[in-house]
């Protein structure tokens, strides 16, 4: 019994898990065997070029497209129709009626899902900052206002998991900041797990706690934000003939403890970067043949571009 409880808890730690999820159009795999893991509380940044398969993947998870193969697990369960009640989505453009006001748009949702609290509409509009739009028709809204209304619709049923596809596309810097702040607020205050795709990697890196990189329909890497910072950390890279001796010199003569040996004959020295010449000199004096020595490190965007083969 206890064992089953533990299994249940472990499974519930993942809000979304897919196993070899595939969508095929004709002979093309738009999404190719994607196995993704979104943990409770994550803001999961889903990154890929146009046509990489991000939207198709999200549409399958949201129940808007049927997978060709593979499995989806939501909240640790496979009865997707029931579990999808706990999801809010904003995929591609927000689904709104342009000739209605923001309030009327939400009223359609309130009635369609049988939400009895009539104040819920006004409360939600106030929450996303659209409380004062009055009789203004949605067709006259700015792009940012439309996106916020789309987010309001996706939040209306108090979801535990939010799927947002390019929610900051086409927004000005102020609009981007508004959405970013709103998402952080939802994640921290309401404990909503978020799966978000965006092209604006700098923005994504400000909020994401975990990343998945998709290329040509396949998930090529999945890692936590801390791992990314580690990967992008600036360092002095050294190619040497004797790594063991080099490490001894670093520790005993230079008192450097922040280093690693990612592969044989290769050293990465973190910190003391302004003393790189001294490091070289001491290694050579100590009998180590230094074949290469250079300062390395990337910003997030360059790292993603590298992964996507764009650099």
């Amino acid at each position: 019994m206890e064992k089953s409880g533990i299994t249940e808890r472990k499974s519930m730690d993942y809000i979304l898990k897919t196993n070899n999820l595939t969508k095929t159009y004709g002979k093309t795999n738009a999404v190719d065997s994607v196995s993704i893991h979104v943990k409770r509380g994550d803001i999961y940044g889903f990154i890929g070029k146009n046509g990489a398969g991000k939207t198709t993947f999200m549409r399958m998870v949201a129940g808007l497209a049927a997978p060709t193969r593979g499995e989806i697990e939501l909240f640790g369960k496979r009865d997707l129709e029931k579990q999808r009640k706990r999801i809010g989505t904003l995929i591609e453009n927000p689904g709104i009626y342009p000739n209605m006001t923001a309030e009327e748009n939400l009223e359609v949702i309130r009635r369609s899902f049988g939400i009895t609290d009539k104040n819920a509409v006004k409360d939600m509009l106030a929450f996303v900052g659209l409380g004062d739009t009055g009789r203004k028709k949605v067709k006259n809204f700015s792009m940012g206002m439309k996106q916020r209304l789309g987010i309001a619709i996706s939040l209306f049923r108090n979801p535990d998991f939010l799927i947002l596809d390019e929610p900051i596309n086409g927004l000005d810097p102020a609009g981007i900041k508004e959405i970013r702040d709103l998402l952080l607020k939802l994640n921290t205050e309401r404990n909503i797990t978020i799966l978000i795709s965006s092209h604006i990697l700098g923005e994504l890196s400000k909020i994401a706690t975990r990343y998945g990189i998709i290329k040509g329909g396949a998930l090529i890497e999945e890692f936590a934000a801390e791992e990314l910072s580690e990967k992008c950390r600036r360092c002095q890279k050294l190619a040497v003939d004797n790594a063991e001796l080099a490490v001894t010199i670093l520790e005993e003569k230079l008192h450097i403890t922040e280093y690693d040996v990612p592969e044989s004959g290769m050293l990465r020295v973190f910190g003391h970067l302004d003393e790189s010449a001294r490091v070289n000199r001491e290694l050579i004096t100590g009998g180590v043949e230094v074949r290469e020595s250079y300062l390395a490190g990337q910003d997030l965007e360059a790292y993603f571009m590298d992964l996507l083969g764009e650099s």
């Binding site: 549409r59 949201a62 129940g63 808007l64 497209a65 049927a66 129709e81 029931k82 999808r84 009640k85 999801i87 989505t89 995929i91 591609e92 453009n93 927000p94 689904g95 709104i96 009626y97 342009p98 000739n99 209605m100 009327e104 009223e107 359609v108 949702i109 009635r111 369609s112 899902f113 049988g114 619709i153 049923r157």
Partner: protein, 276 residues
């Protein structure tokens, strides 16, 4: 399901196109009576035929002078013209806008994949489409009857006339609903305004009847006449009084079959289709 219908009903109340279509139906009925009134004036000799270059002919002949048009037509016959010419066209166009619009503005995504089965979503939307069609049919029938009472007079108030009128409205509304079921499903499948409009024009413009006539020719060796079960043909064939069992049965069977087939096809497609 009731919640879904509630949402759809609210949307309908806010729909400007629904209001415009209802206004078009009212205007069409009034226009038809206006035309009949002018012909009546010509026939009575109050206005000379050919005034302002407008000539009135009845079956290609000069109208008989002295006789009122309103004495030679019944309220049912006028409704038949309204249904065949205007109501099918206008309700069809509204249904295209209503169905295709859901995909155009992306609002279908707000319902699909949110806990409701696809079947329930499709059924609710289809039911609302049929309900709007029924509203338009009833609007034209009631307005036609009211105007008939004014222009035709006491004849409309006779019990037998009213009974025939009610039966005719029931039969014709069933036919219009079945036609709109086909239009709504084609719009759902194609998700294209252009396709929907072409279909409405084909149906209302009589092209579909021509196709069924061609089918009759192809199948004449098998003693089958598909055109006698095609909805627009039945609309024209449907009597406004003296309802014989054969035609009533044919109408009922055709309505059930066409509605059932289109509903099942739409449901099947909506189940497997991706929502954009």
């Amino acid at each position: 399901m009731i919640n879904l219908l509630n949402g759809e009903w609210y949307k309908l109340g806010k729909s400007r196109s629904f209001l415009v279509c209802c206004i078009c139906i009212v205007a069409s009925v009034c226009l038809l009576y206006g035309m009949l009134f002018l012909v009546d004036e010509v026939q009575k000799g109050n206005v000379e035929n050919g005034t302002a270059g407008v000539f009135v002919t009845v079956d290609g002949q000069e109208p008989l002078s002295g006789q009122s048009v309103f004495e030679s037509v019944t309220v049912g016959e006028i409704l038949q013209n309204i249904m065949v010419v205007f109501v099918v066209l206008i309700s069809g166009i509204f249904n295209i806008i209503f169905v295709v619009g859901e995909y155009g503005n992306g609002a279908m995504k707000n319902l699909a994949g949110k806990g409701y089965s696809r079947g329930k979503i499709f059924a609710a939307k289809h039911m609302v489409c049929m309900l709007t069609t029924e509203i338009m049919v009833l609007l034209s029938a009631i307005l036609n009857y009211a105007l008939g009472c004014i222009f035709i007079g006491k004849a409309c108030l006779e019990g037998a006339v009213l009974k025939d009128y009610v039966i005719y409205v029931l039969l014709i509304s069933a036919l219009v609903v079945a036609i709109n079921s086909i239009i709504a499903v084609i719009s759902e499948i194609s998700r294209s305004l252009a396709v929907g409009i072409v279909v409405v024009v084909c149906v209302a413009g009589g092209i579909s009847s021509l196709l069924f006539n061609a089918l009759d020719l192809l199948l004449h060796n098998f003693s089958v006449q598909p055109s006698s079960y095609w909805l627009t043909n039945l609309m024209e064939e449907c009597p406004v009084s003296g309802f014989e069992t054969e035609i009533v049965l044919r109408i009922v069977i055709s309505v059930v079959v066409w509605f059932g087939v289109s509903f099942a096809a739409g449901m099947w497609h909506f189940h497997k289709a991706d929502i954009k």
